[in-house]
């Protein structure tokens, strides 16, 4: 019998046995967190929503993907699913357009209803982060905004810790260069989409 006090890993064991109740507890517990992560990865509300839903349904339909014996935290494992989905999405988009993946990365200028208005500094930061290569941006998001340790983020990205540190270093260098350059600001009043 699943309980809200159960750990994520215990709930996943129950999900593997077909417990929809355990699945529901996991979804309610983590949807906000993973939506935020997906939004930071994609920059688009609709895509973030689809990505989270797809990832959760994937683990519901194929719970055996969760390997308990590997000792990974559920959240770290789920981030890996999101990151892989994002990479797949970018590749598909690249194949469809035949263009550069980086051109397809949103720069936070989506303007649907109910958005948060960003100040000038935040707009510059969004553009700077959006200008980074996908892996550097993901490393930055995981370590800086999702609170993963370097080892966990390295596991999500499938690289060694040293390689992750290198990605972070290059990301910060890239950000500094972008922010120090001129003419990289969004127009006044432009909004950060929800």
């Amino acid at each position: 019998m699943a309980s809200t006090e159960d750990s994520d890993e215990s709930l996943m064991r129950l999900v593997r046995q077909g417990s929809h109740q355990a699945f529901a507890i996991l979804v309610r517990r983590h949807t906000d967190r993973f939506y935020a992560a997906a939004f930071r990865l994609t920059g688009r509300a609709g895509e973030a929503e689809d990505m989270v839903q797809e990832a959760f349904l994937k683990i519901w339909q194929k719970p055996d993907l969760w390997k308990d014996d590997r000792g990974a935290k559920f959240t770290t494992w789920f981030y890996r699913i999101l990151v892989n989905q994002n990479i797949d999405q970018l590749r598909k988009a690249k194949n469809m357009t035949g263009g550069d993946v980086l051109e397809l990365i949103p720069d936070g200028r989506e303007t649907p209803e109910g958005e948060t208005v960003l100040n000038d500094e935040q707009q510059r930061l969004e553009r700077a982060i959006a200008s980074l290569p996908e892996r550097q941006r993901t490393a930055l998001n995981l370590c800086f905004y999702e609170g993963l340790s370097n080892a966990e983020a390295a596991g999500v990205l499938g690289v060694k810790v040293k390689a992750l540190e290198s990605l972070l270093m290059r990301a910060k260098t890239g950000l500094k260069e972008f922010l120090n350059a001129k003419d990289n600001r969004l127009k006044q009043g432009e909004r950060y989409g929800t």
Partner: protein
Amino acid sequence: MEHDDLNHILVKRAAPPRAPYDLAERIIHAAVSTIPSRMREMSFLEDFRSLFLIPRPALAFACAIAIGIIAGFQTGEGFSSVPDWSSFLDVNEGGWL
């Protein structure tokens, strides 16, 4: 720009928007709608596979041998019995042998 300045700017990044209030419930509902097909698929496969499954193969094999030996002794006269040629000779009444 110094390293600390960049960290300071990164901290100021706008928080992502909250997830739509009903997203979790929609995901749960979507999962429920996949239960019947999932269960049907599993039960069909399980049923089909169970036709060929022996729960305890070693035990089943040992039982089959034991039953075979016992049945063999009961229907015949054991290994010491003399072969009964009478039925064979009856069949040979036509004289073809």
